[in-house]
Structure formats: C-alpha cells, structure tokens
C-alpha cells in the first residue's frame, strides 16, 4: 500500500536579507535540508528536536503554509499541490498556541462553522455539537469566545476545528505544550482515539520525549534542519545511535536519582544556520568528535528499524 505521505529530499528555505545578500547569492536561508520520510495510514510519527531545529518549518511546508520548498511531497500517491484548496481539507494543522490561533472575535460555534463556509460546503446541521462531543466538550461551550476557555478547552476547540472537514493527516505542533500532565493525557488520548476511529495519520511535533515514548510509532530527531536519526520509537529509545539523540534522551529530567549519573552533556549552543558547520553538522557540540567528523559529512546508515547519520555511532548501552 502506498504511504499516505511520502517526502523525498525536501529542502525548505526562507528569503533573507536585501539587495546585497541577493548579489552575493546568499538571499536564502536553508532551514530544512534533505528530509525524506514516509508516513503510513493510521500511523503516528513524532518530530523531535530543540528550538530552531526546523521541526515547525518542515511541518508547515508539508501543510503548504510557507517557505520556498524544493523536493518531492506525495500525498496518497500523487504529487501534493501545496497551493491548492484540496490540501486544506486533507491536511489539518493544530497550531502550537491554541488560544491565539482562534479568532478572539468569534464564538466557538462560529469558529467551528468557518471551515465549511470557507470551502463552500453545505454545513451539516448539528455538526458543531457533534464536533464538540467528539472532543469531549459540553455543547454549552459553543456560545463562548476563546478568552473564556481554559488552555485545555482551547486546545480541544483547535482539535475540533482541525477535524471539521475530515482530514486524512493531522499535523499537531506541540499539542500539549504548557498543559498539566492530566490534561496532557486527555488531549493525547483524544488524538489517539480519533486516529484509531477515523484512520487518521498523525504527525506530532514535540520536544517532550516522555510523551513520544508512549504515543508515537516512529520518531525522527532533527538537528539543524536534518534528520539525524529516524526509526521505530522503542528501538530508538533503547539504543540511540546518534550522540545527539543520546544527549536529548539523557537530558530528560527523571525521578530516579540513580539513572542520572550517565547523563550526556552537549557543548555550547546550536550553531547558526547562516554558517552551517562543515563535515558532520553536529561536530561542534559532539562530545565524541573526531577528525573525520570535522571534514566529511556522514552518510545515512541503517541498523534494523533505525537509520542515522553518524561516523561513530553510540554502542548499545548495557542498562537499556
């Protein structure tokens, strides 16, 4: 079966600078570089990485929300027309900031009817109530405006709005950022229930590794706009190959004081995209850097269900 979404060698850039930059040929800043992956129907994939790693830019490019895109995106086997109208029905986006993504002037009812009006679809009677029920909100909420909602409620309205036109792919940008653990569970359970019930594919952007471990089938770790490691979630957690993955996993605050001792620290901060490091782009922060890493970019390697780009991958740790 063809994957629902298939991305090949995707580059995303943004125009920068003025005339001088243009003359120097440096008027584009490459945010996402050479990303390839497939997403199957009903599958959940998590994009993980630090701020500035290009997670959101990649997701927005797939949803046709900006950036200068080159490479290939196929949706359901056909090239994706990112400027067309159909894409807005097939791919829904749940924005990071739930409250500010909803117009403060509209009631929840108007917000949920808006997608139908925009696409010229006859509004099915009672659909607002059905959507609210779907996301577990009381019907009375329909007459409220966004500022009268709690963070969790606004998030659910965002989910309801994303689902209004029955999309096949839902992209959720930090769907649980700033939520308390109990509400976080509710939002994630909701997305997961809808995935199984409606057969959706989910692409979840997050930097919360605790939730990735529970809800994602596969994960991709991004650094400076590239996938440095991708694979099935459990094997990546059990044996990270790329030192960056290992560092991210070990930076997760943990309850058990014993487990803290093996923490892996990174040097410095994320380098700027304007001057990408030569060789392996991670070498400037890698605790295990060697001469080869400074000169030669590593190629993609595979180890069972995991692929990664590193010259000197981490060994499987004993306590994993």
């Amino acid at each position: 079966m063809t994957p629902l979404l298939s991305v090949r060698n995707l580059d995303v850039s943004y125009p920068v600078g003025g005339l001088m930059a243009k003359l120097r040929g440096a008027d584009q800043l490459q945010i996402v570089a050479g990303v390839s992956f497939d997403l199957a129907r009903g599958e959940t994939m998590a994009l993980v990485g630090e701020s500035g790693s290009g997670k959101t830019t990649l997701a927005r490019a797939i949803a046709g929300l900006g950036g200068l895109v080159s490479g290939e995106i196929r949706f359901d086997g056909a090239p994706l027309n990112t400027s067309g109208r159909q894409i807005r029905r097939d791919i829904a986006f749940i924005f990071q900031d739930a409250v500010s993504s909803l117009s403060p002037r509209l009631t929840v009812r108007a917000l949920l009817r808006e997608p139908f009006a925009i696409h010229g679809i006859q509004y099915p009677e009672g659909e607002v109530e059905r959507l609210l029920r779907l996301v577990g909100l009381p019907a009375t909420i329909a007459e409220r405006r966004p500022h009268e909602l709690s963070g969790g409620q606004a998030r659910r309205v965002g989910v309801a709005r994303a689902l209004a036109l029955k999309p096949r792919l839902v992209i959720a940008d930090e769907p649980t950022a700033g939520l308390d653990v109990s509400v976080q569970s509710e939002v994630l359970n909701l997305l997961n229930d809808l995935r199984t019930r409606l057969g959706l594919s989910l692409l979840i952007i997050t930097h919360n590794l605790n939730i990735v471990r529970h809800i994602a089938d596969r994960m991709a770790i991004m650094y400076l706009g590239r996938f440095v490691e991708t694979g099935d979630t459990a094997p990546v957690f059990a044996h990270p190959h790329h030192p960056y993955t290992a560092a991210l996993l070990s930076a997760n605050p943990i309850i058990d004081p014993e487990a803290r001792k093996t923490r892996l620290y990174l040097k410095g901060e994320v380098p700027g995209l304007v001057r990408r490091p030569k060789g392996c782009e991670f070498h400037s922060r890698c605790p295990f850097v060697q001469d080869l890493c400074r000169s030669t970019p590593p190629s993609l390697r595979e180890d069972g269900p995991v692929s990664y780009t590193c010259h000197f991958p981490m060994e499987a740790s004993v306590n994993a």
Binding site: S182, S185, N192, N208, N210, N252, I255, L266, E269
Partner: protein
C-alpha cells in the same frame, strides 16, 4: 545541603486570600502553610489554576488590587510581609528576596544593554560604577556566558533564550539574596538547556547559600533539583515533604493520581494515558468538605462534609486528607 529547619527563612501560615470578582468572591488560597528553611530548595507544584502564582505574588507583594488577604501571615526573616508598605517591600525585593520569571525575553529590558541593567540592579550598593561593572562581568562569567567582557555591552536580543535566562539568574543572585523565587524559569527552554540551567542554579545556590522557592509543573525538574516538594491543588497545599519520600510514597490521593498520570513515571509504553478526570472545583463557592472530594475516587461522606486537617503521614510532613494512611490509589488508563 544541611538544613536548619528550626529557623526557616520564609514561613507562610494560614494564608487565606480571595479575589473580588463580579460573580462574588473567588477564594484563591485557603489556609496555606509553607515553610522554607535556610539554604533549602523547595519545589511548589500544581496545575494551572492551583494558586501557585497567587501564592508567589503574595510573597513578593505583587498582588493585583482585587486580591484581599483575609487572614494568615507571611514571615520572612522575622517580619510579616503582609503588613509591609509598598515602600518597605521595595526595600526587600532585589536585595533580600529576588525573582527569576518564566520568560527571559520579557524580564529583561530590550532597550538597555545587559551591562546597564546589571549595574542598575546594584543601586543599593556603595561600590563605584567601575566596581559594579566588574562584579557584573564576574557574575556573567559565573553563569557561563562566554566572553563576558564584550558580551556585557550587548542587548538582550543578541543573546539566545538559554543565555538570557542565565543572565536573569545572574541578576537575581547578584545581591546574594536570602530567598530566590523562581517562577517556571525553565519552562520556555529546551530539554538540554533546561538541565544545564537547573545544574547551574543548583551550583550557584550552594555557593551563595540562598533558599529557593521553585515554582513549576514539571515533576521531573522537582525530583532533580528540590530538597522538598509542596503540592498545591485548587488553592490549598495538599501534601508536603522531602522530595524523595513524597515521590516514593505519596500520601494524598491527588498526589498519587498526579504522579500516576505523569508519562515520565509510567515505565511501559502505553497508547492510552491515564488522566484524573473531572475539573477544578468552582472556587467562588467551594463546598464545605475536602477540596479534592469531587474528583477523588475514595471520597465518602466524611470527605464531602468535613474539611480535612493537616496530618503527618508516612514520610510526608503534611497531608491534608481524612484518610492519609489509606493504600495508594492506582490510576487506570
């Protein structure tokens, strides 16, 4: 850290506070007891709406006009902060008590250089301007800002988020306060930076010896950093104790359920995550019984009619529950 619990830096006792709102009186804090020993790091945990920020504002004297302290006291180094004038409070803030806020971008003034702000904050000191600048550079070096001599003349936007938060920490600790209040200082940071910031905070704290009130909803951070943990729910502190002990054997049903739905504490991957269910109670008209009764699976008539007292139970110092010794609740997905 050795703790001198007999002589706490800060003691909040019986603090009850409400907001006047059009619908009546919102009872935001009810009979809150909290104590922070010298050099102790205390984590204050609670979901949004639990009153963490109100409690912080009450301690710092930053309450909005609609807030009324009904009863109770906040004693800091022997004086009651609730009775201080704005002027007296200003004398304490930035000197004996300082704060690190959540968002390092808005905490720093964007139109002044870091150096100017770090010199300004020393306005109480008798040092010369040159000496103040030298102290600022030294402090920047201590929070590991590379090349502090030239960085000090830069503006906040020229620093990354993690560096800005480190500058804010440097400024807060400049006057060697007795108490540092940190309001979710790592929430806006990535995991790798979060850990680095926590390590830095712990290191500086042990050098300076100040007490820290660390407000967060990230349980992992509390486990890593804090000596003690206080858990707030709907305006009350429901459990308090040494961090390790509370994580190992929580005694309040809310704490038990909260830990139960923290994905970090669930070992086996599960698709469907547990949640507590229900919503925060209406604080304009709280029921006479236990504040958690409406969501507690164990609640009986005692719980819905009588307000529980604070008990010592297990290894926890305070458990506000009628049945603090009942077996631990399991939460199902």
């Amino acid at each position: 850290m050795s703790l001198d619990a007999s002589d706490p830096v800060l003691t909040v006792s019986g603090l009850t506070l409400s907001y006047d709102i059009p619908a009546g009186e919102l009872k935001a804090l009810r009979d809150v007891n909290l104590s922070i020993g010298k050099g102790e790091i205390v984590g204050l945990v609670g979901e949004s709406g639990s009153g963490k920020s109100t409690l912080m504002q009450a301690i710092l004297g930053l309450l909005p006009g609609a807030a009324q302290i009904r009863s109770g006291s906040i004693r800091f180094e022997g004086q009651d902060l609730t009775g201080l004038s704005a002027r007296q409070m200003r004398g304490l803030l930035g000197d004996r008590i300082s704060v690190v806020f959540q968002d390092p971008m808005t905490a720093l003034n964007p139109v002044l250089t870091i150096g100017r702000q770090m010199i300004d904050i020393q306005h109480r000191s008798k040092l010369s301007r040159r000496e103040k600048r030298a102290r600022a550079i030294e402090m920047l070096a201590r929070v590991r800002i590379p090349d502090p001599e030239s960085r000090i003349d830069r503006y906040p936007h020229e620093f990354s988020g993690g560096m800005r938060q480190r500058v804010a920490i440097a400024m807060a600790l400049m006057a060697k306060p007795a108490l540092l209040v940190a309001d979710e200082p790592t929430t806006a940071l990535d995991a790798t930076l979060e850990i680095a910031t926590i390590d830095l905070l712990r290191e500086l704290q042990s050098e300076i010896g100040c007490a820290v009130l660390f407000i967060t909803h990230h349980l992992g951070v509390v486990a890593e950093l804090c000596d003690r943990i206080d858990i707030m729910y709907a305006g009350e502190i429901v459990e308090s104790g040494a961090t390790g002990a509370v994580f190992q054997d929580p005694r309040h049903p809310y704490t038990q359920l909260l830990f139960g739905c923290d994905p970090a504490q669930i070992a086996e991957p599960m698709r469907h995550l547990p949640s507590i269910g229900g919503n925060l109670p209406d604080l304009t008209a709280p029921l006479p019984g236990c504040i958690f009764a409406s969501r507690c699976p164990r609640a009986d008539e005692t719980c819905t009619t009588g307000h529980p007292a604070d008990h010592k139970a297990g290894q926890s110092d305070l458990v506000r529950c009628h049945y603090p010794l009942a077996p631990r609740l399991e939460i199902s997905a």
